[in-house]
């Protein structure tokens, strides 16, 4: 318990260093663009494959489990859209990103720590926490919502593919379903959650990477811990935000 509290304290102290005024915005701007490419574009392919097939499977599962004549056929498209926009795209995709981006960040910063690159930054008088972590957080806050909207689109497209090329439902009914009773707030709600998750999947792994001590085994441990803890944080924050936003 004491160790957990100590770690939480260290995490917030690190964040206070991260959000100090940067020394040179020009270098940070460049770094943000680099991080957006690494974190964002590098994840697009994986997210595309997962979203498309998950959308297709959700459609098939919904269609095969609805056998009541009281439920209209367009409910299949509606269920696919709602489950994707409200939960699968923001939460599940961010859990996947926590694995991909999180382990990447923890091992990158952890390696910099044990090879004294962070010490080299400190010797140069650079606020290493801010220089290494702030661009990642800003890049994630900018690019992860884009990835999630892209995931929503591809998930719904996966369902459309099923409706077009199988007998589970028809394309007309699917298209009617995905438009039925649509409210913009669903997207806003998903994007609010995404911003919180984007912060978690960069700051938590950065924390574990930054405080890595020892050698290559510890880098692996930091990487694993970062994925575990950021996933737990995402699930807890998801529960809290869902309670707050959908009251």
């Amino acid at each position: 318990m004491v160790t957990a509290l100590h770690s939480i304290g260290e995490y917030f102290l690190l964040l206070s260093r991260v959000f100090k005024k940067p020394d040179n915005w020009k270098l940070y701007r460049r770094q943000i663009l680099v991080e957006m490419t690494t974190l964002g574009l590098g994840s697009m392919g994986l997210i595309a494959i997962i979203s498309f097939f998950m959308g297709a499977v959700v459609t098939i599962q919904t269609a095969s489990n609805i056998d009541s004549p009281l439920i209209p056929d367009y409910a299949i498209g509606f269920a696919t859209r709602q489950s994707f926009i409200l939960e699968l795209a923001p939460t599940v995709m961010c859990l996947i990103l926590a694995g991909k981006i999180g382990s990447n960040i923890a091992s990158e910063i952890g390696t910099m720590r044990i090879t004294e690159q962070i010490d080299a930054l400190e010797i140069m008088g650079v606020n290493s926490a801010s220089y290494l972590i702030l661009p990642k957080i800003i890049a994630a806050l900018l690019i992860v919502p884009v990835i999630i909207i892209y995931s929503m689109f591809l998930g719904v497209m996966g369902g459309w593919f099923v409706s077009a090329y199988s007998d589970f439902t028809t394309m007309d009914k699917y298209l009617l379903g995905i438009r039925w009773n649509f409210t913009m707030f669903s997207i806003v709600y998903a994007l609010i959650k995404t911003l919180f998750f984007a912060f978690i999947i960069t700051s938590v792994p950065a924390f574990f990477g930054y405080f890595t001590r020892g050698g290559s085994i510890e880098i692996g441990r930091s990487s694993t811990k970062s994925v575990v803890y950021s996933s737990i944080c995402i699930l807890i924050v998801n529960y809290i935000l869902t309670q707050l936003l959908l009251i």
Binding site: D23, N24, M112, D119, A120, E122, I123, M124, V126
Partner: protein
């Protein structure tokens, strides 16, 4: 000149540095030597502020570094260059970008002026046509030289080298030692080198501080070290059979 006065540092209950005082003069190579675990690297990390001292003071030309705030330290750090044991080059940046980094961070020079400075520093450490290579594409000796080039990019007053020739063959190690020596004389820097390499000690040791169990055990130069009868220092210097033969043991 750099002066440390009565520095102590401990980790939990282990005393790593115990009341160490020393003066490191400008324009000469100051060596900190000692066996592994004697506190050499901790001493240097305390001097540059990577570790906070428990007691004592560090003075850079009379400026008390230990009592400075972050901004004051930042000013002093812009006068410090450091070469790390593993070179600590930024893996994701090319050689040119590594040396550009401190210049972009601290100067308002034009891009052309900065590139001129990069090329000058690379030439100074006898490296050419490596600007666009990444650290992983360089040999250990070349990485050290790039590390030196980065360390001198801002024309530092103080140069710290943590085991500059570890992992290098003896010939390359001596080349690196000579390079550090030349640069120190040329720019009249206060240079502190942490080493346990006897080649370095004999080649460049103008002022040598020997640490043993966290205490300053002996101080002198490379001529005096051969004549000393300090037992612990003799055990360190004449550890190899060839050195014992040389001494006539």
């Amino acid at each position: 000149m750099l002066e440390v006065k009565n520095i102590s540092k401990s980790f939990y209950d282990k005393n790593v540095l115990d009341n160490v005082s020393a003066i490191f003069k400008r324009g000469q190579i100051n060596l900190v030597i000692g066996a592994s675990g004697s506190g050499k690297s901790v001493l240097v990390k305390c001097i540059v502020g990577l570790l906070e001292v428990d007691a004592g003071t560090v003075e850079f030309d009379g400026r008390n570094f230990t009592t400075m705030n972050f901004m004051e330290r930042k000013l002093v750090r812009s006068e410090i260059g450091m070469l790390f044991q593993g070179s600590a080059l930024f893996n994701s940046l090319s050689v040119e970008e590594n040396i550009l980094f401190p210049l972009e961070m601290y100067t308002k020079q034009s891009r052309e002026e900065m590139l001129d400075r990069v090329n000058f520093c690379l030439q100074r450490v006898n490296l050419e046509n490596v600007n666009h290579l990444f650290p992983a594409e360089l040999s250990g000796g070349m990485q050290k030289r790039v590390g030196i080039a980065r360390a001198i990019a801002l024309n530092p007053k103080y140069l710290f080298c943590d085991e500059p020739n570890s992992g290098l063959d003896p010939r390359t190690g001596i080349l690196i030692d000579n390079l550090i020596m030349e640069i120190t004389k040329e720019y009249q820097m206060t240079t502190i080198v942490v080493t346990h390499d006897m080649n370095s000690v004999m080649e460049t040791g103008e002022n040598i501080v020997f640490l043993h169990k966290g205490k300053k055990w002996w101080e002198g130069n490379n001529h005096e070290i051969l004549k000393t009868d300090n037992k612990e220092l003799c055990d360190f210097v004449y550890a190899s059979k060839i050195m014992q033969k040389f001494k006539g043991f």
